[in-house]
Amino acid sequence: MSKPIYIALAIVTFELVISLTSPAWAGSEYVWGGKLDLTRGVSTIEGAGGGGLVPWALIAGNETKDGVGGQVSATSLQTHNYGLTAYSAAIGAWDRVEISFARQDFDTGKTGGRLGLGSGYTFHQDIYGAKVRLAGDAVFDQDRWTPQVAVGVEYKHASHAALLHALGSRRADGVDLYVSATKLYLDRSLLIDATLRLTRANQFGLLGFGSGPRDTYSLQAEGSVGYLLTPKLLVGAEIRTKPDNLAFAKETQAGDLFAALALNKAVSLTLAYVDLGSVATFRRQSGPYISMQAGF
């Protein structure tokens, strides 16, 4: 339990170091906040700035290129057989670099008993992420076709290594690499993201990484489309393909329909209906998703 506290401390220290050494001091005045509503994205279940399932090229936090910001989130997803809870924290610096942390608890509830794990058996996963914006401006480059592009890495560490091995998973740690292209088509009020991910994670990593027969990285496609009903309300859909490595259970793509609302500069609320597909032999795992996010 003390782990999140250490991470919070590390993030605050990082923040202080950055704010004191920021190149933004040269020439410009240091500024807190200043981003337009929703242009930090919400928090993915893996902690990165983005949609709910798909990371975007947007950088976490309310900062502009002249400052440092951050965001925290709490998310709950209830499907028919399972419950997923995620907490995350992210720091964005100069609207350029993002580091993030997320903790996921995957509660098998009564289904745990039917899987032979014991009722209420809960898998955990910690995810450490970093993202760098390489080029483009998703919001302001309205006269260019080029999107905002970022690359990211997620180091994931799942608990219960012995059990994951017994389920056929090769390892409990894994690294995902992704590249995201995000663009706001303001003249159509549309936000579009396309993300490619190299991964060998089973169910995001909650069920480990790779398997005996299938231990290679594969390229997975993810995407989000959103429509800006108002400057503070984005509605849309996401899709995310996943590898299918484990022999004991088929893994399918995930998707959602979402509404993300900026309640004010700091707080946003995301409501969604998420379909995780088939999870650990139980098909059609879909249900309501709620996520609160606060940023500065």
Binding site: G34, D37, T64, G67, L186, L228, P231
Partner: protein, 159 residues
């Protein structure tokens, strides 16, 4: 020689469109190109803004924010409100495909020494969104204007 005279005469005529209660500015060549943006090709969005009257009300409200939004007041303190409202209204009317010409100064030249930062541009965009919503401009039409204005960031935020 003839050409030079005609040009001088037309500049004087255009310059006389300025209202009497505006402060004088350094001489400059007037042109729609000073807006730095090409106008929309139909007036559909202009109609959604309720024509020139709607644009005038929005600009008047936006300029109120220029003088009250704590993120903007310092920069706009010395601005000539009469002139700013007239030229900004012309500019928006022109961009929206309305029957207007922009007679103000060139965007980049005008803003280059102000040290505008991103948070200020974003503040102004939020205030403009508020002003447009108060005028009941539909969001799709608001976003069409913002899409036109967005690339001006490269001319306005230069530090």
């Amino acid at each position: 020689m003839r050409l030079g005279l005609t040009l001088a005469a037309s500049i004087m005529i255009l310059a006389s469109t300025a209202q009497a209660d505006e402060k004088a500015v350094e001489p400059y060549v007037q042109s729609d190109a000073n807006a730095g943006v090409l106008p929309m090709t139909t007036d559909a969005v202009f109609q959604a803004f309720h024509g020139r009257d709607g644009v005038d009300r929005i600009v008047h409200r936006l300029n109120w924010f220029h003088n009250h939004d704590p993120r903007l007041v310092d920069t706009f303190k010395a601005a000539d409100n009469e002139r700013l409202e007239r030229t900004l209204s012309e500019m928006l009317c022109y961009i929206l495909g309305g029957p207007c010409h922009y007679t103000g100064r060139e965007m980049k030249d005008l803003h280059k020494d102000m040290g505008v930062q991103v948070f200020q541009l974003n503040a102004q965009i939020e205030d403009l969104q508020t002003a447009m919503s108060e005028e009941h401009v539909p969001v799709w039409a608001q976003n069409k204007l913002l899409a036109k204005l967005a690339p001006l960031k490269r001319m306005i935020v230069v530090r």
